[in-house]
């Protein structure tokens, strides 16, 4: 069964059909060509597919595509234009990525935190990214990068 959905994808209105049971991740990657959210587990266990739906952090792999009708969906691509997000700069400066596969989801999670809590403690940063697994870095540089942006945004 196909269902029409209309939503905003990174600020651009889109309308398309979704199959029954199709995930938002599949729709974004295969139908909209937005490859920035990644498939890591399809079980909601790794956070590589993290996106924002109406400003809330969500897992695209567990979100049925038909449920985003009328919503605002943002991926890391929304943060990169027209200028890089300070988090992206900080991740580059702090060497906060190795393979880079978890990075888009991690940055979406971090931006969602900073938008709601501009001066998080280290523990709050840890909690905010605790749904996003990273197998390479040991998390340390990721936490540092996020705290550095928080300090910089508050002082600015």
């Amino acid at each position: 069964m196909t269902t029409p959905v209309h939503f905003t994808h990174n600020g651009r209105p889109v309308s398309l059909f979704t199959e029954a049971g199709e995930s938002l991740l599949s729709l974004l990657r295969l139908k909209l060509g937005d490859q920035t959210p990644k498939y890591g587990c399809g079980q909601g266990g790794c956070g590589a597919c993290s996106v924002r739906i109406d400003g809330q952090l969500r897992l695209a792999c567990l979100t049925l595509a038909e449920t985003v009708d009328g919503a605002e969906v943002e991926t890391v691509a929304a943060l990169s234009a027209p200028n890089l997000d300070p988090l992206q700069e900080a991740f580059m400066d702090h060497f906060a990525a190795q393979c880079g596969y978890c990075t888009p989801g991690m940055i979406v999670a971090a931006r969602t935190l900073l938008d709601t809590n501009p001066r998080p403690s280290r523990d709050e940063v840890i909690e905010a990214i605790s749904g996003n697994l990273c197998r390479c870095t040991g998390y340390e540089p990721i936490i540092d990068a996020i705290l550095a942006v928080a300090a910089q945004e508050v002082s600015a």
Binding site: T36, G40, S80, F95, Q98, C99, G100
Partner: protein, 556 residues
């Protein structure tokens, strides 16, 4: 987290006056990573993309009685099914590219399955869901067989045969030996003289590489009858060679594109997805995507091998280790993959970074009915390092020494003879121990602080060695001690940077070591004494041996 450089150490061996090297320059790939635009294999876009999923064994060990695909083939969206008979060369072993080991693993199982999750039928459909639905509709009848999961049980006579290529449930090493040996000095004589004997038994566990990007591949027809394969492989030409072999095509019909990989840690060396994706593209003339889901990645894709170790140390009154014996069992799972190589690598690593005048080791590569094991970070070494360093802790206590002092006394130094019969050089263990102690506030007495890797070699000759197998074929001569690379077998020799010794061996780098008899397919030499139990197999594969790189690497 803190990090400091001890530039004061080995300063005279280094030129720190470089423009680019040694500088904390941003990663070349980092902009792609933070914007989510780095090109991972699954980020390539295709029209008419097909999806491949596998029917997998629900049993650890079973004979396949029948496979009925009629219902699945008739389902909507199903384009084609692949069976073992569709794979041109449906038996392979990864290291056949290096002429090491016998073909022992099908791409798709035809007659029996030897581990839970072993692929039997591949379904290619227009959507992932259609493929999964059809997978569920394939009817396979099995006759369950007894399974063996314990390495020691597997080696006992009468154990179920896991892998028909190796009926004794163990890999066959060089010259038809049932395990890999190391013999250096006389351990028994030195145990007799030891003040302390320390014994330990250690059990490692299978571990998943767990890269955030799962294994997979997308293959697509290219112009002029070539096929592109987008892959997360850790070895591009390794994967090309494997696919060319099982698909029976020339290497140059395959165009592999990868190089940007979402973590590997050893879990992306086996080329498990590429052959089926390419075969699917060849037979459907459409792009085919085969990506493991996370459950498959965890329980079907090969993990780190579990290892079992027994170590015995003989220690002198003054804390010097006189002798060390190893017995090790690597659990390869159902097929060889890379475990055999891990055993050889491990043997070359023994007895750890210590100078010990008598070392003996026997390691088996054992087949059991679990997921085939393969490489993982620290491959062949991590497991035995756990055992060795536990053993060192117990030895220090037995000798009444601090753990750092005990390690310093026994640490290998430049000029020491190693158990592989090569002289150590460019060592730095002593300095590492001293610096770690300093950082952690571990008090070392002045005589320990004064130690250095540069001097103090305690063993410079190969000790008289007791060998025991009696299975050496006639006409055998020992390896000559050939220098294969600068630094080997010499005392530390420091060269100015940039490093000079880049061998340009365009002709294929023939080794200067003497030619040795090829192992395995031939029957054992008649003069060979009866082997220790269990009886090694006499596999007799009908096909000629396959080796992509045999021009440069001698047969074994």
């Amino acid at each position: 987290m803190s990090l400091d450089f001890r530039k004061d150490l080995f300063a005279d061996e280094r030129d720190d006056n470089l423009n680019v090297v040694g500088k904390p320059i941003r990663r070349q790939d980092i902009l792609g990573h933070v914007t989510g635009t780095s090109p991972f294999f699954d980020d390539n876009k295709f029209d008419n993309l097909l999806h491949l999923k596998c029917v997998r064994s629900p049993h650890h060990h079973a004979r396949i009685v029948s496979i009925d695909t009629a219902k699945a083939e008739a389902m909507p969206g199903v384009v084609r099914l692949l069976r073992g008979r569709d794979v041109p060369v449906n038996l392979n072993t990864l290291l056949s590219l290096l002429d090491f080991g016998l073909d022992d693993e099908p791409v798709l199982a035809e007659t029996k399955v030897s581990y839970w999750g072993e692929p039997i039928v591949a379904v290619i459909a227009t959507s992932e869901q259609a493929a999964l639905d059809a997978v569920a509709a394939v009817e396979v009848r099995y006759e369950e067989l007894p399974a063996v999961f314990d390495v020691e049980e597997a080696l006992k006579p009468g154990a179920p045969t896991v892998n028909e290529t190796y009926p004794g449930n163990h890999f066959v090493f060089y010259e038809n030996t049932d395990h890999q040996r190391l013999r250096f000095g006389d351990t028994e004589a030195r145990f007799a003289r030891a003040a302390h004997i320390v014994e330990g038994r250690y059990q490692l566990t299978p571990i998943e590489q767990a890269p955030m990007e799962p294994n997979g591949a997308i293959a697509a027809p290219e112009t002029n009858d070539r096929f592109a394969c987008y892959t997360p492989t850790q070895g591009l030409f390794f994967s090309v060679g494997t696919c060319a072999k099982v698909l029976d095509v020339d290497l140059n019909r395959l165009h592999f594109i990868g190089g940007t990989v979402g973590g590997g840690f050893g879990g992306k060396v086996d080329s498990v997805c590429e052959p089926l994706a390419i075969l699917g593209a060849m037979l459907t003339r459409q792009p085919v995507r085969y990506v493991l889901n996370r459950a498959e990645e965890m329980q079907v894709s090969a993990p780190r091998s579990a290892e079992l170790w027994e170590i015995k140390d003989g220690i002198a009154e003054d804390g010097r280790i006189l002798a060390r014996e190893f017995k090790g069992w690597f659990d390869a799972g159902a097929y060889t993959r890379l475990t055999s190589y891990g055993v050889v690598k491990c043997t070359g690593h023994l007895p750890g970074p210590y100078t010990i005048p008598a070392v003996k080791s026997d390691i088996w590569c054992v087949f059991t009915n679990r997921t085939p094991a393969t490489a993982m970070r620290g491959f062949g070494v991590l497991g035995v390092d756990f055992a060795i360093e536990r053993q060192m802790d117990k030895g220090a206590r037995a000798a009444g020494l601090g753990p750092m002092e005990y390690r310093l006394i026994n640490a290998y130094r430049d000029g020491d003879m190693k158990a592989t019969r090569r002289v150590a050089s460019n060592t730095a263990l002593v300095e590492c121990i001293q610096v770690a102690a300093e950082k952690a506030g571990y008090p070392l007495a002045p005589e320990y602080k004064a130690m250095t890797s540069m001097t103090g070699a305690s063993l410079t000759q190969i000790p008289e060695t007791v060998t025991d197998s009696g299975r050496r074929p006639a006409g055998y001569t020992a390896i000559e001690k050939t220098e294969v690379s600068p630094g080997l077998g010499e005392a530390a020799q420091v060269q100015p940077t940039p490093a000079a010794p880049v061998a340009r061996a365009r002709t294929g780098g023939a080794s200067s070591l003497p030619e040795r008899p090829s192992y395995a397919p031939q029957p054992a030499p008649p003069q060979a004494a009866p082997p220790p139990a269990p009886e090694p197999p006499e596999p007799a594969p009908a096909k000629p041996r396959y080796s992509r790189y045999s021009s440069s690497i001698r047969r074994r």
